[in-house]
């Protein structure tokens, strides 16, 4: 087996523990069903281009993006734990190159991101199936979103995990950053009707672009603006990815 595949195998084994899976599956389910139905009385329907969605469908689709982001935490956690528990050195003194290690993390993020997106899509499907405008773009859009989104947020998590030294810092910082991404985005509520500064904030946030693209795929609301969002997302992901790789390559032993 190729060294990178062996490392991916190991990465998946150490990160797919019960705690992580519960967090990945239970939280979104509870959120989609509880918040989704509780807020329907407040938010009647959300306009998305020409389509009008009910709130549960809106939030279930937003949750796919949120979950892709959340699942990329694994990459940060892997790098962080490997440094803290000596496995980074141990791997690099074994039959691996640094590039194997880095690539294995990229693949791990993409795999976990894809699984996560599939999971939430199937869980959320009953909620948005009546609004679903299943078309040629749906599946490619979801895959595009999973891969680009997980590389983008995975790079952020990796960058943070290479920059930190103290032991308690990582979880606090990563959760703060991701919480900000989650709530200053259109994942949970629509931009229309929010105060101007907040609505602007939404569009400084890659998660907003990610969920817009996912919704365009599911509800068939693709237009030029979504196209632009895809270009922005890919550019940001590519830039952060290059930075993350640079930092990982230079990471001191």
């Amino acid at each position: 087996m190729h060294p990178t595949i062996r490392l991916v195998n190991r990465n998946l084994t150490i990160s797919l523990n019960p705690g992580f899976v519960v967090w990945q599956v239970m939280f979104p389910i509870v959120y989609i069903f509880v918040a989704g139905f509780a807020y329907t009385t407040l938010i009647d329907s959300v306009k998305l281009g020409d389509v009008s969605l009910d709130y549960p469908a809106f939030i279930a689709s937003g949750m796919i993006g949120f979950n892709i982001m959340n699942s990329t935490l694994v990459s940060g956690i892997i790098i962080w734990n490997d440094r803290r528990h000596g496995m980074f050195e141990q791997i690099l003194v074994g039959p691996f190159k640094r590039s194997h290690y880095i690539l294995s993390n990229v693949y791990t993020i993409a795999i976990v991101g894809l699984i996560s997106a599939t999971l939430i899509t199937s869980i959320g499907f009953p909620l948005f199936f009546k609004s679903t405008h299943f078309n040629l773009l749906t599946i490619p859009f979801l895959i595009f979103a999973s891969v680009v989104g997980s590389i983008l947020f995975g790079s952020i998590a990796s960058i943070i995990s290479t920059r930190l030294r103290s032991s308690e810092g990582f979880n606090v910082i990563i959760n703060t950053v991701f919480l900000f991404f989650a709530f200053v985005s259109t994942a949970f509520y629509p931009a229309q009707g929010t105060p101007e500064p907040l609505a602007t904030g939404f569009y400084l946030n890659p998660l907003t672009y990610l969920v817009d693209i996912i919704r365009a795929g599911i509800f068939g609301t693709f237009n030029e603006f979504v196209m632009l969002e895809m270009i922005v997302l890919v550019s940001v992901a590519a830039t952060l990815f290059v930075i993350a790789i640079k930092l990982l390559t230079k990471l001191d032993l």
């Binding site: 087996m1 062996r6 490392l7 195998n9 190991r10 084994t13 150490i14 523990n17 734990n81 528990h85 000596g86 496995m87 050195e89 141990q90 791997i91 690099l92 003194v93 074994g94 039959p95 691996f96 190159k97 032993l253």
Partner: protein, 312 residues
């Protein structure tokens, strides 16, 4: 040759951690690398195992140029670093198994070796426990055992017995001896002398990044072991005594508190009789007087002390 290095240097800023090390280590040997804290043992291991590049010098491991082809070297060696390393949320047996997988060991062999190593390293009781829940010594045992999951021609171990209890320690040393008999070359660092003496075919003493001596434990002892240590314990302090003792040729005073004096000399018999006559002539009352062969420990301490002296 399993390990060959020439003029190996490594500096961190102004600090020279490894200062020109030449090594020639044959196959099937256990080579002890002995030195005090900060001597440069771990840095040497990191250089030889290609974890960090040297500032200067050449390294050949198992006939492979380690600077040009580090991956080819790493595929054939095992390394137990000084720093602990473990997968916190895997159980002991799972972490052995996964480590074997990382080394591309086939599934059947993996399973078989896991059971074997759990037995050899006495991990049966903790095999289902997670690594994060283990004691420090147990974790170290798992780390050492894990390295034997894969095949190798050369094994580097950086103070593997730190944290092990006496029986686990002895158990490991005997296991290593067996492995060496079967042809494995082992590069072993420690600052425990008795361990090196028990285990190693050859010992290098290192301090401040430089090798001070390389030889077999026996040869080291006989080179330096002509020497005897004379211990004098006086009833009362006698101020002029040191001056008188310094007059004896071949007499080196190692330690002096006024009432406790330790002398080392390679002409111990002659020195001893002169010491005695000085004590008698001056009516100095002694509580105890003894002469014995210098131990490897004392040789080691003196070598280190000599290189640490300010004029060095």
């Amino acid at each position: 040759m399993s390990i060959k290095s020439r003029s190996l240097f490594k500096s961190y800023g102004d600090l020279v951690a490894v200062n020109g090390i030449d090594l020639d280590i044959g196959s099937g040997k256990i080579f002890g690398f002995l030195g005090p804290n900060g001597a440069g043992k771990s840095t040497t291991i990191k250089l030889l195992t290609t974890l960090v590049p040297p500032s200067r010098g050449s390294i050949e491991i198992l006939g492979i140029d380690a600077i040009k082809n580090p991956l080819d070297v790493r595929k054939r060696i095992g390394v137990v670093l000084q720093q602990p390393s473990y997968e916190p949320n895997l159980s002991v047996e799972k972490s052995l198994e996964k480590y074997g997988m990382m080394w591309d060991v086939d599934k059947k062999t993996r399973k078989q070796r896991t059971d074997e190593l759990i037995d050899v390293f006495d991990l049966g009781e903790i095999r289902k426990k997670k690594n994060e829940d283990l004691s420090i010594g147990q974790r170290r045992r798992v780390q050492v055992a894990r390295e034997f999951m894969h095949e190798m021609d050369l094994l580097f171990m950086d103070e593997p017995t730190v944290g092990l209890d006496p029986s686990a320690r002895r158990n490991l040393l005997d296991y290593l001896k067996d492995k060496a008999k079967a042809g494995l070359t082992i590069f072993y660092t420690t600052h425990v002398l008795t361990e090196a003496e028990y285990l190693c075919d050859e010992i290098a003493v290192i301090n401040k990044g430089k090798i001070l001596a390389v030889d077999t434990p026996d040869q080291l002892k006989s080179t330096f072991g002509q020497e005897k240590t004379i211990k004098i314990h006086l009833a009362n302090k006698y101020d002029d005594l040191i001056g008188l003792l310094l007059g004896i040729s071949g007499c080196r005073i190692e330690f002096d508190t006024g009432t406790n004096i330790i002398i080392q000399s390679s002409k111990a018999e002659i020195v001893l009789s002169q010491v005695l006559s000085i004590l008698i002539e001056n009516n100095i009352l002694i509580e105890d007087l003894s002469a014995m062969p210098t131990t490897l420990e004392e040789i080691f301490l003196r070598m280190v002390k000599d290189t640490n002296a300010p004029n060095n």
